[in-house]
């Protein structure tokens, strides 16, 4: 791609190198640890599902049993595999036996490690095959039914009732949406289990459950066939059950997942050790399943100033890129986040936003960048809000963003009504079509406002990354460098679910998925 900004290539390389060193540093920590949700994910991938009579999900029942027996460090696959060898039962039967109190996994006689691994590998290969098939089905449908033109139009549904959501999602797809995100029920990110079954009540959103995923997938496949394009389904692979949601999404063919440890640390006060370990496995799953991840840098600008702190967004994108690479995610699946959040009365603010959006495009040329709409300075004046969204849409088509999270003129009033979504889609479609090739027609003035803005942001991000490399990511977060939010290494939720791996730890899915399948 021809640069419109004359960005300093050497500076980009140095920034990327620093980000790599930062990620390497954390990876040592990640590799030595596992968590309860990572292991619950393993049980799900081994086919364990359902709930006990108290509505506790069986993956939690199994993990509680292993944790109580002090066996977490060896991993769930080891204990389940061991029980399979010993009892000649399926993982689901074993989980049910545990839930009935008939089986104590860590007290089961220990079998030969090779037998355990061989037994587990056979089950793992089946699941990995299913996920591979889902991926092929998506590729096939996108090619044969069709796929929306980028930037994808991304809208949310959030009624609390999955059936109502499905209806609204279909309506949005018919109006032109490419991606439907089902906003999760409030505070689900802080639950240390995944609810089960179809749900019809939620607050500010709908619970992410595997059955809800399936219901929505079916609805979108149906409407996709009707409108002649594949409709992408998005959910939230974040919070305390990050990798479990990734596994559920991989099994039910979701296409896009919000997936960002930094977001959880800063904005949901999830413990940083916990969520960085969780993120690694969830990204491996997302990478293998062909799911595009979305990162949450845009949120920094809802708490910090969009002009002064723009470089923290870029710095975080560099780091997220490296974390994603380590988990085998190709650039084409990295929906790095950024946002249009400057104060609307800022003189030449549009030029600055344009410079930054183009900068992100040039620094991450293959990533389907996720561009977030104005929210912070939406006031309830819906007429002005609609114009703010139009300005945002113009930049997106101009700079070729990947995923356009559509702004709602009723932002700051309520979760979108059906016409809010329709008007937002209409706004974007009008501008995208009317300005489709604007980007390839226009160059920027040398050292003008747009170029200078991009250079400044890059230079500040570069310096910040060098500093983080020196101090480490944990200390950087403790100092409140991102979003102005300070979080402690041992603070936040979920730390008690982190443990050091023992010798003999086994998780077949990491290698299987990193190697691209069975």
């Amino acid at each position: 791609m021809e640069s419109k900004l004359n960005l300093d290539e050497k500076m980009i390389q140095e920034a990327r190198q620093a980000a790599k060193a930062i990620a390497d540093d954390v990876q040592y920590f990640i590799d030595e640890h596992t968590t309860v949700t990572v292991e619950r994910t393993v049980t799900r991938l081994l086919g364990i599902d359902g709930v006990d009579e108290m509505d506790t999900p069986l993956p939690n029942v199994v993990l509680d049993n292993i944790k109580q027996g002090g066996g977490l460090g060896k991993g769930a696959a080891f204990w389940i595999g061991n029980a399979m060898v010993e009892l000649k039962k399926s993982p689901q039967e074993i989980a049910e036996a545990v839930s009935r109190g008939e089986l104590d996994l860590t007290k089961t006689p220990i079998n030969d490690e090779k037998d355990i691994q061989r037994t587990i590998d056979e089950v793992a290969a089946v699941t990995v095959g299913t996920i591979q098939q889902n991926r092929e089905r998506r590729d096939h449908d996108m090619k044969n039914i069709g796929d929306g033109e980028k930037p994808y139009l991304y809208v949310i549904v959030a009624t609390g009732n999955i059936y109502e959501d499905a209806m609204q999602a279909k309506s949005a797809a018919r109006q032109g949406a490419d991606i439907i995100a089902v906003i999760r029920s409030t505070a689900q990110s802080l639950l240390d289990y995944v609810p089960y079954g179809p749900t019809t009540e939620g607050f500010g959103g709908t619970y992410a459950t595997q059955e809800n995923f399936r219901i929505m997938r079916e609805a979108l496949d149906e409407v996709g066939a009707e409108v002649g394009k594949y409709i992408h389904l998005c959910n939230y692979c974040s919070g305390l059950c990050m990798p479990e949601i990734a596994a559920m999404g991989a099994l039910e063919r979701l296409d896009v997942m919000l997936n960002d440890a930094l977001y959880g640390i800063l904005f949901r006060d999830i413990n940083m050790q916990r969520t960085l370990v969780d993120q690694y496995f969830s990204r491996i799953i997302n990478g293998f399943a062909g799911i595009m991840i979305n990162t949450g840098e845009d949120n920094y600008l809802t708490t910090a100033d969009a002009v002064e702190e723009a470089h923290t967004v870029l710095a975080s994108q560099f780091i997220n890129e490296q974390f994603a690479k380590k988990a085998g995610l190709p650039e084409e699946q990295m929906g790095l986040g950024h946002a249009f959040e400057m104060r609307p009365d800022l003189k030449n603010g549009f030029l600055w936003e344009l410079g930054q959006a183009q900068m992100a495009r040039e620094i991450f040329p293959r990533a389907p960048l996720k561009y977030m709409p104005p929210t912070k300075f939406k006031t309830g004046d819906i007429f002005k809000g609609h114009i703010q969204d139009a300005m945002f849409n113009l930049i997106s088509i101009w700079t070729n963003q990947g995923v356009q999270l559509l702004g709602m003129m009723t932002e700051a009033i309520h979760t979108p009504h059906i016409q809010d979504r329709a008007l937002a889609i209409e706004n974007a479609k009008y501008i995208f079509n009317n300005c489709r090739d604007l980007g390839s027609e226009i160059t920027f003035k040398e050292d003008g406002i747009i170029q200078s803005r991009a250079k400044d942001v890059l230079s500040n991000a570069h310096d910040l990354l060098i500093e983080i490399q020196r101090n480490g990511i944990f200390k950087t977060i403790e100092e409140g460098k991102f979003g102005g939010v300070k979080r402690m290494r041992t603070g936040g939720k979920g730390l008690d679910g982190v443990t050091k791996k023992d010798s003999g730890y086994y998780n077949p899915f990491v290698d299987l998925m990193l190697q691209g399948g069975a």
């Binding site: 309506s171 949901r268 929210t375 006031t379 309830g380 700051a412 309520h414 059906i418 016409q419």
Partner: protein, 251 residues
């Protein structure tokens, strides 16, 4: 011809002529866009009390839904002179004045806890009031000398907020509700007051709520000391809180 004077006892919407009553509205009907739907929208306008409702735009939103823009003349009018809206009845001091007031009249640092409670994940409001940087050039409470400001962030359960208030011996609690669904902010705000009353804390603290859908009247109704709507800044809230502390002898 002189302009007609507004009769404040009979105020109605203004389009381009006094008392023309012009209003615009938009809504969706759960029926497909056709002539019958358009007529339905017009009749709905009439039932709402509009004279000469005119459906200026109808758009299909997929099968089964249609979107309308309707203009009409509002027949109702309001006696503006009879309206009394309860307002926060404290003169807003500047940041410096608030700081001096605390030093002079309270003579100790005060603790203010802020949170966006319940299901609400939107911290824009509480951040604007609490955070160092503030909003639109108005510094937040964290920057005030004499105020220990603690922002608990979003989706804070009421129980946690109360526990924090006890732990820090808070002088005031600020609750923000920005985006709420199906009016969930009302029971949520009520619950906090009930919890505080159960703990015997309600009278010992200044309790204030804010957000785009909150006004002083609603706040008072729900048992709060004050409510702040859109366009309020840290100094408005701070002035009220310090004044209330002194007034209620919570010094």
């Amino acid at each position: 011809m002189a302009l007609e004077k507004v009769d404040l006892t009979k105020v109605k919407p203004y389009g381009d002529t006094l008392n023309d009553g012009m209003v615009q509205m938009s809504f969706t009907l759960p029926v497909s866009a056709d002539e019958e739907a358009k007529e339905a929208a017009r009749r709905l306008g009439m039932k709402m009390g509009l004279e000469d409702p005119s459906v200026v735009s109808m758009k299909a939103m997929g099968p089964g839904f249609s979107f309308f823009v309707v203009y009409g003349r509002c027949a109702a009018s309001i006696d503006y002179t009879a309206i009394e809206v309860p307002k926060v009845d404290v003169e807003t001091m500047s940041k410096k004045e608030v700081e001096a007031y605390i030093e002079g009249k309270i003579k100790r640092d005060i603790t203010i806890i802020g949170a966006c409670t319940g299901s609400d994940a939107h911290t824009v409001g509480i951040d604007a009031i609490m955070n160092m940087k503030g909003f639109d050039g108005h510094y937040g409470l964290e920057r005030y000398k004499g105020i220990e400001a603690v922002n608990m962030g979003s989706q804070v359960p009421n129980e946690e907020l109360v526990a924090k208030a006890i732990e820090l011996k808070a002088d005031a609690i600020l609750v923000s509700q920005v985006v709420t669904q199906k009016d969930v902010h009302v029971p949520n705000l009520t619950e906090l007051i009930e919890l505080l009353e159960a703990e015997g804390l309600r009278e010992k603290m200044v309790v204030v709520c804010g957000g785009p859908r909150i006004n002083h009247e609603l706040a008072k109704e729900l048992g709060y000391d004050a409510g702040f709507g859109t366009g309020s800044y840290a100094e408005d809230v701070a002035s009220f809180v310090v004044d209330e502390i002194v007034k209620r002898k919570l010094v």
